[in-house]
Subunit: 326 residues, 2 copies
């Protein structure tokens, strides 16, 4: 792994990954359509001679193919990550996730690039009856278009691993937190509290249980197994790993951490029900035994991750202007 | 279920389903792009005043939406079913299966149609370690683009069931046999034996174990559960059923049935290995307890199904001229 192509390089995880790879002395080609990515996240990378930024969209296959020339590994992180609003624009997940992933695979094939890492999601397990949910949980029923599109991406990637001898690393993420976080419950809650510190609207009843992982831990985990080359010896050329924390919190716990750090006691306004939105899963907690058995472990607890995220948002309130949520 | 829309109506299963529904007094709108469908399969249906044929492609969303007007149920059977040749044209499964299924769902939504039946495949289980394989087998790794595209279709359908309150019936088929069969091992073997009765080339070593279901049993099973309305009370509005026989045979057994019926003793030429092609699964046997628990059962054994198929091919050798395999 010397010259690495990152789709979604100006995004939350992509830009953190780019910085890490550059610090490790790698050459990085960043690819982003800037639909949600932030140029500012690449300020550091752009100062590095080993970084090249190419602006483009995954739906433009010829441009994508050309941009990948010379790379040996692709991190495919670009995606429509609007889980909540999938029903408002059903074609978005199909185009930006499913078709985009197909294009990434075809661009790789055209360039003879075989190693791919893919950001999937713990949402692919639907409402699993097995918690913590392992990678080989019962074949799930999809409940969101977002997760369905990620399952579709996983399936194409593993088929390319089988059929075209690709080396695939599929990571099913819990929600990721940390520096450059621009999307999710901490983002939403802090935004509300900036606007009206005396009240907080919460989707659902606040009892939803979720697990979160710090972005630097997420990046470390991916690099850890790819450097070990675990997929090379896998039966179908692909390895699938849950990436998460070995603990979970309730939304209400998280609210407690946030309000405590800010010294606020807002009036809570719950929309009610045990789901935040249609397709929301009231309990997401992934088994992380497989990734931990490779020797990787987390550096921050969920509470520490939330605290780190909040600090970053406090210092970077510009993200609220440049990126309206949704 | 009174006015039924069938995609792939001129296909093997679609045309048999149309005939059955018409015999039951239903109104049927048949939709086909005739890429592999046969007009001749609809000879009977076209004589029935309750049948309307509309020629069109699932990728033409406006035409598809218009064609569905007035229907209350959609059987989405149209697909690229070229499992073996997926690697030669990877975009075909994406377009004809994944994108096509999305269009069917969107056309339904535009028309306020909520009930959908979908032909998925036992191949979605990949190389399952659990045999017979139940619907809730461990989350599989996809090994073919065809199966990956069916998983994608399943995921979108179940998401529409959850998000838009659709009523979904997903059927994971084993290989289907019987009248109007134009694709698969009996088709290929008989074709070879017509051309050179003294020798038979077999992909793999002939020990692949597969299960087969007679097309009339397949049609009966689908109608049986839809008439019971099982998905109406399902947790996410969708029910998934394996459709198969409660027995399996080796490819070599099947060759024995075929050669016995034809009175031939060809010299066998095996290509070797336990797979017929990349992505082939050496053992497909689905658990059918769930569909059987609804009261449905098969009428023919696999041997009887193969015999019936062979008789039909002998009487309809025109299919070899009109449809070159692949």
């Amino acid at each position: 792994m010397q010259q690495i192509f990152i789709t979604g390089a100006a995004g939350f995880i992509g830009s953190n990954l780019a910085d890490r790879l550059l610090a490790d002395g790698k050459t990085v080609v960043g690819w982003d359509n800037f639909s949600t990515g932030q140029r500012k996240f690449l300020d550091g990378a752009l100062k590095n001679k080993n970084f090249k930024l190419i602006e483009g969209d995954n739906l433009d296959l010829p441009a994508l193919t050309k941009a990948m020339v010379g790379c040996d590994t692709v991190f495919h992180l670009a995606a429509n990550a609007d889980v909540r609003f999938g029903l408002e624009h059903p074609s978005k997940d199909l185009q930006q996730n499913t078709v985009a992933t197909f294009n990434v695979l075809e661009a790789m094939r055209a360039n003879g690039i075989k190693r791919i890492a893919f950001s999937s999601t713990g949402s692919v397990y639907g409402e699993s009856a097995v918690i913590p949910t392992p990678e080989d949980a019962p074949f799930p029923i999809q409940t969101s278009l977002y997760a369905a599109s990620k399952v579709s991406g996983e399936g194409m990637i593993s088929s390319y691993c089988e059929g075209f001898k690709f080396e695939g690393y599929i990571f099913r993420f819990v929600s990721i937190l940390g520096e450059r976080y621009t999307h999710g419950h901490v983002f939403d809650f802090y935004k509300q509290l900036l606007e009206h510190p005396d009240r907080l609207k919460v989707l659902g009843d606040g009892t939803q249980r979720k697990s979160y992982l710090y972005v630097q831990d997420c990046v470390s985990a991916m690099l850890h197994v790819i450097n070990q080359g675990t997929a090379k010896n896998a039966k179908h050329g692909v390895e699938i790993y849950n990436l998460g924390n070995d603990e979970y919190v309730q939304v209400n716990d998280s609210i407690g951490f946030i309000c405590g750090a800010l010294g606020l006691k807002p009036k809570m306004e719950y929309t009610g029900g045990n789901r935040g939105w249609v397709g929301d899963n009231p309990f997401i907690f992934l088994a992380t035994k497989k990734i931990q058995s490779t020797g990787w472990k987390t550096s921050l607890t969920i509470e520490q991750g939330i605290s780190r995220t909040l600090q970053w948002l406090q210092q970077n309130q510009w993200v609220y202007e440049s990126r309206s949520h949704k």
